[in-house]
């Protein structure tokens, strides 16, 4: 094949690749770099090394951040209280099991943030089986059912800002749920209550996530060979068995995608938290790493520490990303 064949793919690829690598991939390393420094976002120096003060009256120079190298200090700071908090939590549960009257201990913000991320990781995927249930519920062909499907899908296209507001209205202590709150004595509602806020946000997150999983599963269901299902029915397989032994295994590709996307989504959730509670009430009771990082960087002017949090979050997510890519490459090779 000729020279133009060898050159062509690079030419087609270059614009997208350069654009993407410069603005998305390269910055990842930038954040790693910043995480080893301390910077308040306002001190600069000239790119040639002079400090701003040395400039003459009307002289300007290209400004670069004046950052102080701190090595792993930021990382140590993030995990500083972790051992102590782990101990306190252990004591709490020990107390619970031995029947004592214990109160949930005071924890550092970092620990609270980490715990919240764990709650998201564990609870957010509940949307997946619910999405499957909806998909099974709606997997019928009459036109009216198909139109209803669209109405079930639409939460997915809502902006998180809108979603956040909708659920805030819902959760408001004098809102539609106040009869519920009165019955249980929840005077602060959900997002006003330190212990309940995160759960309220997760429930809000389920709304679009269930719709997404429903779409994925409906597509997966239509891809199953009808003949397989008929053969199994003729063999006498009834609903639950059919579901468990024929349908679910065939839905594995859909489940895989739903799992990876949902877990990644659980860790990425910034918008909802920022809109609904801003991380509170109090310090960090509903905060997650994604949002805490934002606050630390732009509001507390602690760029280095913020970058550190981002790096830790990124490394955690890298696990899931790697799993996804490995599966994808395996599939490409098979095809």
């Amino acid at each position: 094949m000729g020279k133009s064949y060898r050159l062509a793919p690079w030419l087609f690829l270059a614009p997208a690749a350069i654009y993407f690598f410069v603005l998305v991939i390269y910055p990842i390393f930038g954040s790693f770099w910043v995480s080893f420094h301390d910077w308040n976002g306002t001190t600069f120096q000239c790119s040639d090394g002079r400090s701003i003060k040395e400039l003459a009256e009307d002289e300007t120079c290209r400004r670069v951040p004046l950052m102080t190298w701190v090595g792993f200090e930021n990382y140590e700071r993030f995990f500083e209280k972790s051992p102590r908090d782990a101990g306190r939590i252990r004591d709490y549960w020990a107390g619970v099991f031995s029947g004592e009257q214990v109160r949930w201990p005071r924890l550092s913000v970092e620990t609270k943030v980490l715990l919240n991320n764990i709650k998201w990781l564990v609870l957010f995927p509940i949307a997946i089986p619910i999405g499957l249930a909806f998909a099974l519920f709606l997997n019928q062909s009459p036109t009216w059912v198909r139109m209803t499907k669209s109405m079930f899908f639409f939460p997915f296209v809502l902006s998180p800002a809108v979603l956040g507001f909708v659920f805030q209205y819902f959760y408001d202590p004098s809102g539609p749920l106040r009869w519920f709150y009165d019955a249980f004595g929840w005077s602060a509602g959900i997002t006003g209550d330190q212990g309940k806020a995160t759960y309220g946000i997760i429930v809000a997150g389920w709304y679009p996530q269930i719709a997404y999983c429903m779409i994925i599963y409906l597509a997966g269901l239509t891809a199953i060979e009808p003949e397989q299902i008929e053969a199994a029915r003729l063999d006498g397989a009834k609903r639950w068995k059919l579901l468990k032994r024929i349908i679910l295994p065939q839905l594995w590709p859909a489940t895989f995608i739903a799992l990876v996307v949902t877990m990644i989504g659980a860790l990425r959730s910034f918008d909802l938290v920022q809109v609904m509670t801003g991380g509170g009430p109090g310090r960090g009771s509903s905060d997650v790493m994604a949002r805490y990082m934002y606050q630390k960087t732009l509001f507390d002017q602690d760029y280095g520490y913020g970058a550190t949090i981002a790096v830790i979050l990124f490394l955690i997510m890298l696990i899931f990303i790697a799993v996804f890519i490995r599966q994808m490459i395996r599939q490409s090779v098979e095809d």
Binding site: F12, V34, L158, A161, Y169, I247, R268, M293, I321
Partner: protein
């Protein structure tokens, strides 16, 4: 088909199904129903216990009027309409070329490059925040529309490359070989054979990207925080209306519905494309 097709059910079971679907649908749409009701209520009704499943009494468009006449909120809406289409064009266009290269040619490193596009699409925004912020400041586009166009164009390219590469891979390679034997050069092959055949996929992808970028909140906050010149609609909703009209739930409700409207409309009009876009890959393997 699983479960058994409804046509084979007994009439009672069928009616039972219809009723249950309706009930579930209403419960599912409840948040939306309540917000819509709220948007037509007066502030008084809302503050005196009218929140919830009540009819607006009196019916009022105060909320809508206030939201629409707010200059800054309107400006953020206009910004969205100015910012989002170029992003869609850039990301889908560049990704189609890249997808063609990655799926219909063999060259060293293609799988790794593809993996980087896919992986990059999943990274948390926060890992990019500081460097991208600094970059827009250095370029002098901080707080302007350009920052959002530039960045979103790049970021969405990741997902678009994933999408287009998988779609183009499914085109029969023989078509391209036939064109090659006939004397077409690589650019002619792309423009006259591949491009016409991937138009449906590009349409589907464009709808998805429109939705993703329209709904963006984070980057709008970071790159155009106080600026009516650059803010996108959701951020406009949050900052302006929530900031100034806190506790005016009817204004918030109307504003929310306005922000939600374009993607929802796009979705309902172009459903097939939308769902086709999302489910590409759900059936592989």
């Amino acid at each position: 088909m699983f479960p058994t097709p409804i046509e084979t059910w007994k009439p009672q079971a069928r009616t039972g199904y219809v009723i249950s679907v309706v009930i579930v649908l209403i419960l599912w749409l409840m948040p939306l129903i309540i917000i819509t009701l709220a948007s037509f209520m007066t502030a008084d009704q809302l503050n005196s216990g009218g929140r919830g499943l009540n009819l607006p009494q009196p019916f009022s468009v105060d909320g809508w009027r206030t939201a629409i006449t707010n200059d800054d909120f309107r400006a953020s809406f206009v910004n969205s309409f100015i910012i989002v289409p170029p992003v869609v064009l850039i990301s889908v266009g560049l990704a189609t070329m890249a997808g063609f290269a990655l799926s219909k040619y063999r060259f060293p490193g293609q799988l790794i490059i593809f993996a980087v596009f896919v992986g990059g699409n999943f990274v948390p925004f926060q890992i990019l925040m500081v460097p991208v912020l600094r970059l827009t400041q250095d370029l002098g586009i901080y707080n302007t529309k350009w920052a959002l166009i530039l960045f979103h164009g790049a970021f969405q390219t990741g997902f678009c490359v994933f999408f287009m590469r998988n779609f183009i891979a499914q085109l029969p390679s023989e078509l391209i070989e036939a064109a090659r034997v006939e004397g077409a050069n690589e650019w002619q092959i792309f423009r006259r054979i591949v491009l016409p055949l991937v138009r449906p996929a590009m349409a589907a992808l464009s709808v998805l990207i429109f939705t993703f970028v329209w709904n963006d909140f984070f980057w709008s906050l970071v790159l155009t925080p106080a600026s009516p010149d650059g803010m996108l609609a959701p951020a406009g909703l949050n900052n302006i209306i929530k900031g100034r009209f806190y506790n005016a739930w009817n204004v918030m409700a109307a504003g929310s519905l306005l922000v939600a409207l374009p993607p929802v409309l796009m979705f309902f009009l172009l459903q097939k494309q939308f769902i086709a876009g999302l489910t590409l890959g759900a059936n592989k393997g």
